[in-house]
Symmetry: C2
Subunit: 83 residues, 2 copies
């Protein structure tokens, strides 16, 4: 069975996000001063071939832990749905 996973990887709240800070400043410059606290992370989509949702879940979790996210600085969450 094929599944589609959508993963969000974000910098931890405790960690400064300089890219987000810069974007907050730029938004102010183009007249959007009511936007604050911009934080920028990664959105990853992938297709996965697995027997069932649990198995797909397990593999995506492994991918996040071993390769996609840096758990010292980032947290991740994901959704899986059948394709």
């Amino acid at each position: 069975m094929k599944f589609l996973a959508a993963i969000n990887i974000m910098p931890l709240k405790e960690i400064l996000d300089p890219q987000g800070k810069a974007v907050t400043g730029s938004l102010k410059n183009i007249g959007l001063a009511s936007i604050h606290n911009v934080r920028i992370g990664k959105h990853i989509t992938l297709e996965i071939e697995a027997e069932n949702t649990e198995h797909a879940h397990e593999q995506v979790n492994t991918a996040c832990k071993k390769l996609l996210a840096n758990l010292i600085m980032e947290s991740y969450s994901f959704d899986i749905k059948p394709l």
Copy 2:
């Protein structure tokens, strides 16, 4: 009223995603060969001060169009919820 917006910005389907291709290869190398078609984009969260949801929606849309997304190569979608 304060709102939290979560924005996903992804490379268009027609456009090659070399970073995603590289990650697909790396996942294969660590034993996750059942994962295909990895695509990597940005996930952005921000807080916004607005009178109502429509107004917040409008401002986030402007931010995406004017600054956050490159509409020639990327598409965006977002969710807004009250904080």
